[in-house]
Amino acid sequence: MELFRYATSVYGDREIIGGSFDLIQYFVAAGVAVILVHAIFKWVMPSHNNIAH
């Protein structure tokens, strides 16, 4: 898995041209993970639904 996208310049050098869009799936997975962890926590610990009480 690459972190960046690369291209070859007119001088033959390998240059970074941006972030790798293969990483999109990992950012989506991170969002799903946060949501699942929070939802499970709220489901298991319903007394924490209202932090003021």
Partner: protein, 201 residues
């Protein structure tokens, strides 16, 4: 006594702030759609929509920064000592989680806007011709990378934001972003009046 107070409601977001929020929300969603749908295979003329929407986002973010700094209590959104020592206690206007989320989104959006404004020099528009020699190839690569990583991280943040917005136990906050108010009972249940006095917002 204001009509809101008379009706037992507490003002949380003024109309101008709600308009800002929703213009920003639509802008972000349009920017994400025009950025990522072509990558996922949906081919359409996305570039003009993207940079024009980016300028709209830039304008409303500048408006928000000025309004926050000079016309609102900016400290409402800054973590304070009590947020650290008593993170589960009733918060002021915003909880520590909301403040940290806002800080993270602010960094990502400012990064996307800053890099995006520089990237405008890389494209032709009705107002200027492209000048790819502003930076070296490596410099442009770094700018594009910052833009790409900020945009991808915003996917995570938008997912989390929408999740909390539709949770039933957070519905009072979502409603307040539509209607502007929360009930006095919700205010008493979820906020520390010593840390947030709505009339002094």
């Amino acid at each position: 006594m204001s009509s809101l107070a008379a009706s037992g409601r507490v003002e949380r977001h003024k109309l101008v702030d709600r308009i800002y929020h929703w213009v920003m929300a639509v802008s972000i969603l349009v920017l994400m759609a025009t950025a990522f749908l072509p990558i996922l295979g949906w081919k359409f003329e996305w570039l003009a929509i993207h940079w024009i929407t980016g300028l709209v986002l830039t304008a409303v973010v500048v408006f928000h920064i000025v309004r926050s700094l000079f016309f609102q209590r900016v400290m409402n959104m800054v973590p304070d000592g009590r947020d650290i020592t008593h993170p589960m206690a009733p918060p002021g206007k915003y909880s520590i989680a909301q403040k940290l989320y806002h800080a993270a989104v602010a960094v990502l959006i400012l990064c996307a806007i800053g890099s995006g404004l520089l990237m405008l020099r890389h494209i032709d528009t009705p107002f200027w011709k492209r000048n790819p020699y502003w930076f070296s190839d490596h410099g442009w690569g770094v700018i594009y990378s910052l833009h790409d990583f900020a945009a991808m991280a915003l996917i995570t943040m938008v997912m989390i934001h929408i999740y909390f917005a539709i949770r039933p136990d957070e519905w009072r906050l979502t409603r307040s972003m539509f209607r502007g108010w929360m009930t006095r009972a919700e205010y008493a249940d979820h906020h520390d009046p010593a840390r947030w006095k709505p009339s002094k917002d």
